[in-house]
Structure formats: C-alpha cells, structure tokens
Subunit: 354 residues, 2 copies
C-alpha cells in the first residue's frame, strides 16, 4: 500500500472514487464538452448538481419537513457571525457553551450583535472535557453548541435538552453519525471534513428562523435571502459543491450514516484501545468525551519523540502532529479514512513499545 | 473544431491547459500521492500555491509596494459589504457611481453602515452608458466604482480622477487590461471571470486602509484580520485558489496583460464591427462605453429570432442569451475565449443576413 495514510485535520481525506470522478469533470463534465469549472452556475447541468446535493443531505440526515438546506461560503468562521445575525434580535441574548477555540470565536462574533452569556466552559482544563449539567437560561434567544472540537479532541456524545432554540456548529463531525435535526434551529458546517473540499459551507435551517429577527441583516449574511434564491443569491462555489455532491452519493452508496457511525466507532476503538493499553502513550481528554473524529494523545516518555516521529513518517502517515494549543499528536479519522490506515498507526505505536 | 464556443457570462471559459493540469492535481497533486482536495491548507505544498498566486497577481498587475493581495471568499456580493465596512467610519459617507445591477447592490449594502450618496447614475437609460463629468464630493470618505458591467455591457474606459480614496469592483474585467493599482485603495474581484473558477475572491488593498476605520468590524469582514493571517484566518478555498494560480501562470506565459488587452480589443473589434455593419443587429450600449468583455446586442427584426437561435446553437455556441434585464444577446468574451470562437459567431450573423 503506497498510498499515504492521511490523518489531516481538515481539509482531509475523501474517498478515492470521488477524486477519480471529480478529476474527470474538470476536463469534461457530464460529456457536455465543457469543464465544470467553466459552466454557468445557472446552467441546467449545475442546477441539477445543486438540487441533488440538497436532496442527498436531506436523505442522509433525515431532515424533516420545514427545514431548508443551503450551500453557501465562508466556513464556520462566517457561520459564527451569520448564525448570531439570524438568531439574535436587537437587545437579545445568546447562551454559548464554550468547548474550545471555535466556540470562543463564535462567542466573539456574537458579542458584536448582542448579549452573550457563556453558560458553561471547559477552559479551566484546557478544554479537555465537555461541560455537563449546566442550566440553559430560559430568557436567552438561543443556545449555541459546537458538536466536536477538532483541536482538543472532544465531542458531545449527547446534546443537552433545551427549551430554547439550538444552533450547532457541526463542522467536524457532521455525517459521521445520526443526529435528530428537529432538535436544532440552525446547523452549520464548513464542508472540509466529512462533506467535501474547502470552499463550501452547509446550512440546515428551520424555516421559522428565516426572517424571524427584525434587525437589518446584510444580504449575504441573511439566511432568508439565500433560502429565497435556492443558494444562488450570488455565484456559489461550483466545484466544491459538486465534489460534496459526489461524496454524498458515495456515503449513501456505502450505507448512509449508520454505516459511517459504525466505521467511526471501529476506528476510534482501535486507536483509543492502543492509547490506553500502551504505556508509552496517554490520551489528553476525558474518556467519556473522546472524539471519534480527532484523537489527541501524547507520549509519556518525551525521549521517544524523535524515534516515534521517524517511525510514523516512514510508515507513510501524514498530518499526525498535534495542534500547538495541545501539543503531542492528533489523529483525525474522518469518514474516508480506512481502518487499515488506523491499523498502520497502531502497529507503529506497538512497535515503539516493543 | 468540436469544442463548444463558450460565451458564458461567468463562471466562464478558462484555458484548456489550465483544465488539464487542474484535473491532474485532483488525483495526485505535485506527485505527493494525495489529491489537492485532501491536503491541509497549512501544508507546505498549499502554502506555496497561495504564495505563488499572490506573487503572480503582483507581477501581472504591477502592484506597487504598500499593497496587500488577499484571496478570500464570498465574491463581489460580500465585497460590497466588506469594502464599505473597511472604508466607512461611523457617520461617514461613501460616494457611489451607479452603473448597473452590481453597483446598485453595492449601494444597498453600504447603506447599512453609513451615508451613501449616489453621485452619478445611468439608470435613466437602463444603464446603457457610463456617466461622465460628475463631481466627486470632497467630504466623502471614498468613491466606489464598478469597472465593467456584465449585464448591461458597458465598461469604464478611463477611471475618474479622484482626490478621495477609490474602491473598485473589477470582478468582470480584471486581468483583461493594465490598470494603475496606485490609483485605488481597494480593488476587489470575484474570481469567476478572468481569474479562475467560482469560489475565490481577490482583494488588492492599500496597507493604509487596514485598520483605518475605528468601528467594530466582524472578523471575517475585516481586511486587517485577513492580511495579518496571510489569507489564512480561516480555511481558504484551496482548489479555486490553485486553479487561479495555474491561470495566472498561463497569463504570464502568454505575455501578461498587454497581450490579454490586445486579444480583448481584437475580439471586441471583430464582433462590434459585425454588429454595426449587419443591418439585422444593433448594439444596446453607447458606442464609446462598449465593454470589451460583454457585448450586448439585439435583433432589429424579431421575426428572425428562432432562425438565429437555431443557427448559433447548431454552431456549438453556448451562453449567448442576454440577461433578462436587457433581453437580446450577450456575448461574453473573457480572456480565454479564442478569436476563432468569435469568428464562428460572426459567420453565423453574416449567414443570417445572406
């Protein structure tokens, strides 16, 4: 197996079949004699791509009636601002659960638009756990969550019961498990983990949200504007959406989110089991909050660092270095990562201890 | 020549050589065994792409010292908002020249942030000319221009002399001619005409602009934030930027903007000459303001419509239908359109009159 074992934290690995078809469309799309890069976003061929991508998101996530699916731009970073703009009335309040770097950034942008109450935080332990048992203030206009924390390697296994509308940044674990979309008013996610390449951003919005807030919203930040134009208020990121559509097709062909969840659990079990049983390694997060997407761990004996780094690089493993906020290592195991790649890493870890 | 003659208004034709290389990178980028769609934006291979794209923009447009080049997202539609945010102090004023649909949208977004004075407009004649001879108010904080109007087919051949800072949306004619960057404080442009595929947006910003306005600006709309992070404040649209870089290389190889300008003038002369000499056609814009990028024209005898439509479609011409705001036809002739494609259209027009 000469293929690189790609543990990149995002943009990240996607299925080889998707790359093969995505490459073909760059030279000749649908056999129309044109590249997908040179066609109008209003051409029937691309409108069909957009429609199919939206339909497949609804199918995969079992999106109920009364929700709109949008493909926009700007990533979660613009989503922090857009979600607050669309949920926060003038003088309103947002309740935020602070579980890491991205949640903190969401808080920062929301503060420009109204009152923000951080109702729970794991900052006291460098975000190595998911806060639980907090009270959700009934006078807040919405609750903001981050489902998975790429940098710190934690994941919300269950979402809190909330009587107020819930907004969730699911950038880094969407499509890795089933979620009950009806529990959320806005779900947003940068594409570049389990959905597609960088450049597209998914929004799943309860229709009641559209136009709910009476403040002036700039057109590009107003979900109602985008919904009314079927994600074509402005020129959409054509190619990233096309590749996402191919990947959505692939996930359905592979058995949908049940199959993806099973694979995610198998990969995570294999790696965490090695981390826990190998005396040279230890995980950095609370065991019950461990992310199935991003496993963070450190060496117990720093003198082994050079040896370990040399060994995993020699095994053709890519992207294992931890984020500077945590140090150590981070194994990002998104949907398309084969369990064989995890086995290669586990073998290296075992060999280091032999 | 079985290749389609692609007159799309944007996203639009790019060079075949660019598509060939762009397709290769989707399966194996730089021979690293990974697709460009699955690598980290912080990997050395992509950082090199971003650096080269910025360097090539500076080279092609002869960008002087004291300017920063950024590759962001959101297209001109987000640029309308971002340019106003970065130029308009609290209680400030922007002076706008209203030359069409995009300029009107820029006015709309700027009004959310301060006072907007439309100092000149061609709305009285359905935007079929470029206003001239207007006075630029010295008390405005900036002047906003649109260099080319895709829908109405007009282009600013010269930019007005201004004593106040100038912002220009150059989405649809950037890289088709030389411009004196030093005359502008902000140039912005959606990539999907002469630069690359949809999904990336170019900003060329005078460094003095960064942080000039003291108001609170959301992070993603603050050019200073993006400049400080070298366009990597958030995950950039990796593939659209890569393809833009390939196309920038190609434009330099072809002789830079002088060569592009010569080709644009030749294509425009060939087509406008036919429009003017063929009694069955007439242009819709003032002759002196005709765009070299988008030629708009109508039939003088509507009874010929079906025949003409059948003929150009049979000639493998794509994307000639005019925008609904103007009707008739629009021939978009961006950098990569071969003059042979224009000749095919001219031959069809001649044949209709024979």
């Amino acid at each position: 197996m000469s293929k690189v074992h790609n543990y990149s934290a995002g943009p990240c690995i996607l299925p080889q079949d998707v790359f093969t078809e995505a490459a073909k469309a760059v030279t000749d799309f649908n056999g129309i004699g044109l590249s997908i890069l040179e066609i109008s976003h209003r051409s029937k061929d691309f409108v069909a791509v957009m429609d199919e991508a939206i339909t497949l998101v609804k199918e995969l996530l079992n999106v109920p009636e009364g929700y709109t699916v949008l493909f926009l731009q700007g990533g979660a970073s613009l989503g922090f601002l857009m979600s607050a703009y669309n949920m926060m009335p003038e003088g309103g309040k947002g309740a935020y659960v602070e579980t890491g770097t991205w949640a903190k950034k969401a808080v920062k942008e929301a503060k420009l638009l109204g009152n923000v109450e951080v109702i729970a935080s794991s900052a006291d332990k460098n975000f190595n756990y998911i806060p639980k048992g907090y009270t959700i203030p009934s006078d807040a206009d919405f609750l903001h969550l981050t489902s998975n924390n790429t940098i710190f390697g934690t994941q919300m296994k269950d979402f809190p019961k909330s009587d107020i509308p819930v907004v969730c940044d699911m950038s880094s674990d969407i499509f890795s498990r089933s979620v009950n979309v009806a529990d959320f008013d806005i779900i947003y996610a940068g594409a570049q983990k389990n959905l597609g390449p960088a450049g597209a951003t998914l929004y799943i919005v309860k229709d009641e949200v559209l136009g709910r807030v009476k403040r002036s919203i700039p057109s590009m930040l107003d979900l109602k504007v985008h919904a009314e134009k079927d994600s074509m208020f402005n020129t959409p990121p054509v190619y990233p959406i096309y590749v996402a559509m191919l990947n959505l097709r692939y996930m359905i062909k592979e058995g949908g989110l049940e199959a993806q969840q099973k694979k995610a659990e198998e990969r995570a079990a294999l790696l965490y089991n090695e981390i826990d049983s190998n005396p040279l390694f230890e995980g950095t997060t609370a065991v019950e909050d461990r992310s199935n997407m991003n496993a963070t761990f450190v060496l117990t004996d720093e003198s082994k660092k050079d040896q370990f780094d040399e060994m995993w690089q020699a095994a053709n493993i890519n992207g294992l270095k931890g984020h500077r906020s945590v140090g150590g290592y981070r194994a990002s195991m998104y949907n398309a990562l084969p369990i064989e790649s995890v086995q290669v890493l586990v073998d290296v870890m075992k060999k280091l201890n032999s």
